[in-house]
């Protein structure tokens, strides 16, 4: 399976307009260690949810996921809690860009967001633009990932992508 085809289980379904304060409360913004942000994922709104996420699980949401603040900790918390991919009807633009930049696969699919249920085993094809429910074989259309975004995701995010470019030219070099 290529790095653009991912399999996972839907750990939870969330509604529309899940904002960045619900994902990661403002009071924890002075935590700058990315891995540690996961400890506060959905802490105020859905405190029980984090424990249900197994490594590689998917989260499914409605429209405008990640609206609100530009806080990158919201993306980091989802990623380091072990989420393998986010599938939503739509994403707020800063959250979407943050996800690509941190190497978290994000899938825009109103069809899949409307149909998938908790516990479904799913395969997503980021480049081809599809989401498949494995038990029934149903295929839902998704927006294919922009080539620029795919390149960043393949590198593991913007930092590793640029790191290659600056290798040997940086601090102490």
């Amino acid at each position: 399976m290529s790095q653009f085809k991912l399999r996972g289980r839907v750990a939870a379904r969330l509604g529309d307009n899940i904002d960045t304060d619900l994902i990661y409360p403002g009071r924890f913004l002075n935590i700058t260690d990315r891995e540690k942000t996961a400890e506060h994922l959905f802490e105020l709104a859905y405190p029980e949810l984090r424990a249900r996420i197994r490594p590689g699980d998917f989260l499914v949401a409605g429209k405008n996921f990640g609206c609100g603040s530009s806080r990158e900790q919201a993306t980091a918390a989802v990623k380091y809690a072990g989420v393998g991919a986010l599938i939503a009807a739509s994403f707020a633009r800063i959250f979407f860009r943050n996800s690509i930049n941190l190497g978290l696969p994000v899938v825009v699919s109103p069809e899949a967001a409307g149909a998938l249920a908790e516990g479904d085993e799913v395969e997503v094809d980021l480049i081809g633009g599809s989401v498949t429910r494995l038990e029934t074989g149903e295929v839902f259309r998704a927006a294919p990932l922009d080539p620029r975004a795919a390149e960043l995701l393949a590198a593991g995010g913007l930092v590793p992508f640029l790191k290659k470019k600056y290798a040997g030219r940086g601090w102490g070099a």
């Binding site: 530009s70 806080r71 990158e72 943050n98 995010g157 930092v159 940086g170």
Partner: protein, 429 residues
Amino acid sequence: MGMTLAEKILARASGREKVAPDEIVVASIDLAMSHENADLVRKSFLEIGAPRVWDPERIVIILDHRVPAESERTAATHKAIREFVHSQGIRHFYDVGRGGICHQVLAENGHVLPGMVVVGTDSHTTTHGAFGAFATGIGATEMAGVWAEGHLWFKVPATLRILVQGEFPPWVSAKDLILHIIGRLGADGADYRAVEFDGPAVRTMTVASRMVLANLSMEMGAKVAFTPVDDTLLEYLEARTGRTIPDSPDFAPDPDAAYERVIEVNVSREVTEPQIACPHSVDNVRPLSEVRGTPVDQAVVGSCTNGRLEDLAIAAEIVRGRRVHPRTRLLVIPASQQILLEAIRLGYVQALIEAGAMINPPGCGPCVGVHQGILAAGEVCISSTNRNFVGRMGSKDSMVYLASPAVVAASAIAGEIAHPEEIVGEEVA
């Protein structure tokens, strides 16, 4: 076919004749702003391994979210930022006591000019569309890339043009207008889009009020939001920069630009009374008359949306000679040190303090739910800030209503959500 303002600026910044919606362009960045999350940017920047920031003159860093430091962890963050700024030769650094809220500080120090591409690690960076700049929020890692490279890719946004006709009725402000528009279009009504505000009602607005429109456009998902570049703005910029900025066709959309949608709003007819965004989303907007009488525990005047001098002026006018209701507390947070100083000079601070308000230091205050006015479970706050999400200002079981500074001040006096006319109509004790 001509270009919208967003298209014009992106074409110029990417070295192209012409761009159209959905094209991807790589644009050079004129200004890169960060606040406390500069520490997060710094970490990613160091990981990338670029030798120096691309241009220290184009980076502005302003501490505002947690000033002065409320915890040891924040103090360490501030310290790391100071050391980085010093080591990279970044001169435009506004430390505790030297600035205020990042968007206000950029504006009042003349950092933003028409036609610029501005990125900030804060979603409300859209505010600077009030200065004719293509200004948008980005994340910290993306900013680290900008610090290294000096450019960034953008998808050219389609543009919504919002024409505001009519005249503002009494007690209806820019805040009420934009809340009405957000209520109409929804929290994702302008997602990924550029917004151009224009029309006679917009052109009569002060620069401070235009900033309210551009600022809150973020809450309907806008990537950027412009108000017109006209004499009002150019005079403001001249006063802030000490030089004349000649007007240019580059600062306005072409008359034959293509819009995704043109929306007309008649403020005289459609926004006849103050508007309130009710818990827990900014697009849950109702006219004041529907929520009047809701008891409030805390009232807040401040933030990058409504903490400017005209906001403090109206709040002071309403509370002058009156007392904040015994079961309510009023917090006032000037958006910057300059504004605080002016508000002292003009007597606003005295009027507010005599009425029983607490003046917080310039900064984001309780808006981000960190300090200086956190809400307990069950408490209700009316606030001139910009977000009322669950837990935004404290307990997940608290409620935040967003309103204009006039409505906030009136509600503080009444102890419940109130129309300013019922307060100023009463005799001063």
